[in-house]
Symmetry: C2
Subunit: 320 residues, 2 copies
């Protein structure tokens, strides 16, 4: 049976991953950006892992090895930031090919260390092996104060849905490169996740939080599923930069689709009670209200040009 | 420049991995079976990761997906056991191909859970993506009491070098399969690492410990390099099972080479002061003395048929 036949990547994970591990040290297992484990009396340990495969997550004709290394770290740190955590330690696994040059590895690691230094992450272990294509896996371990932990599952009806920065930049760059055009490709080639200090300001006020790794639509759907709520997203309010709007125009695409169904923008999506909004805005103004959390029975949907549309699935590695 | 030109896999790791991370929470970074991190007042956290690539670490014509999953867990748990630790949590990353069937994944995870249950490990997170071949990465996090932590770097001249169980079974099975013969392939297809309870009995008495993942020669060399010592290994004392001796004979190979240069036997190699030997033997008799730790200036060597031979490198993924 094909994986697409059972519903794709997320259905596969639901099928394979047990959710009731039955160990009191497991605060949160599968179903969030990081697993959360008991740690000190006032902190949790958070753990995340992401794998990147050549030609699936990065094409060597577009990405320098430095950019690949940088992205590998940002992808993982983003998950820790989305929990309200501080990333601390990283572990890398690399499958190289027989043709991989030492210079490629030097640059790859320079990128990993550059991003790691920015985020205060120490690379302290790993595994090196070989395969027929380059595969990179990073694990990042971080910590979060118990009162700052921000799960996907804590959104409440009445919360406002917000996103940091602007969306769609990653997909905009990809589409330009696919069309053989130059322009605003930097957000695709050098995606930057939010800093822990920003995530932690948000975590003081937000109920639920998640990072954008598969598009806004997919992330809001995750929040709804894990929190048992519905949501309305007003497409007209989704923050788009002039560069992304121009890039989409250059290839005849809708920039709102980039934001909703594009990939790895690594901005933060969070839900916050309306009465806390102004206090967060005073401390951290770089976000936009794009919708509202609703009771579950109202469903999860977009309002786009006055029409109600079900929230789509985002990027699925095993879609047909 | 080719990776083999700088000296292969271990030279590459030395080149790329920084050893002075400068964070007091890092008790031990690169250079042991696990990284060791500060945790509770009386325990350390230990973290290990291993990647397995189809056709490099497992061939689908030989391994059932259940066996692949089982091996993935055993490989990683072995590293925690070799620190004197108890494995607790696992995180998996999987790159599948577009052709991978749901049934394959069901069996793979059944193997992971079966081995995890044996060792008390909960699988609580991961990442699923796709590539052109199946690549699996597991991370295992465990814990160890500070007084039981067993590093590669604590061997002392005068210590006896010991190995648990018997060696060479993994390579014996591989060579039979490569030759198209049947026989004792079980240690290749279903390698089993030592239990944490066994590693912890040893850790109470041993100075240094490491697991056998690249052959006895390579592991002893690691102990010597990290401890700043030499060693003598008496090849005649290396424990070999009748099955391994017969298997080697069937393909015209030397079973001692299997033990020294073969791969993933997942037994434990440890160094122990002679005066503690009998006390360990009373509690855990399943090991053999194969040599002695020497002062560094005497070198690291094998005594084989009366001749002194430098200790070889074991398996290197990037050897020419």
């Amino acid at each position: 049976m094909k994986i697409s036949e059972i519903g794709g990547e997320f259905a596969l994970i639901r099928r394979l991953m047990s959710r009731d591990a039955g160990d009191p040290a497991i605060i949160k297992g599968v179903g969030d950006d990081c697993a959360v484990l008991a740690y000190t009396p006032d902190k949790y340990l958070v753990v995340t892992t992401d794998m990147m495969v050549e030609n699936s997550h990065f094409a060597s004709q577009w990405f320098t090895p430095f950019q690949v290394g940088r992205k590998l770290m940002e992808v993982n740190v983003s998950d820790v930031v989305a929990m309200g955590g501080v990333p601390r330690f990283a572990f890398i696994s690399v499958a190289l090919t027989k043709e991989t040059e030492v210079e490629y590895m030097d640059e790859l690691y320079r990128g990993i260390y550059a991003s790691g230094a920015k985020h205060g992450v120490h690379l302290i272990g790993g595994d090196t092996t070989h395969g027929s294509e380059i595969v990179l896996n990073l694990v990042v371990i971080g910590e979060v104060e118990k009162n700052l932990l921000c799960l996907r599952s804590d959104a409440k009806p009445g919360d406002l849905v917000c996103v940091t920065g602007t969306l769609g930049g990653n997909q905009a760059g990809l589409e330009l490169l696919l069309a053989g055009k130059s322009g605003h490709t930097i957000e695709f080639l050098e995606p930057e996740c939010r800093l822990a200090s920003e995530g932690r300001l948000i975590a003081r006020y937000a109920n639920a939080m998640i990072d954008v790794s598969d598009g806004l639509g997919s992330e809001v759907r995750h929040i709804c599923e894990e929190s048992g709520v519905g949501a309305r997203i007003d497409c007209g309010k989704i923050p788009l930069s002039p560069e992304v709007i121009a890039s989409a125009g250059a290839v005849g695409k809708d920039p709102c689709d980039y934001a909703l169904y594009g990939g790895e923008d690594f901005e933060l999506v969070f839900s916050i009670p309306p009465e806390r909004l102004s206090r967060l805005q005073e401390e951290f103004p770089d976000f936009t209200v794009v919708g509202e959390i609703l009771p579950r029975e109202e469903g999860a949907f977009l309002v786009r040009d006055g029409e109600r549309i079900d929230i789509g699935k985002g990027y699925d590695h095993f879609a047909e």
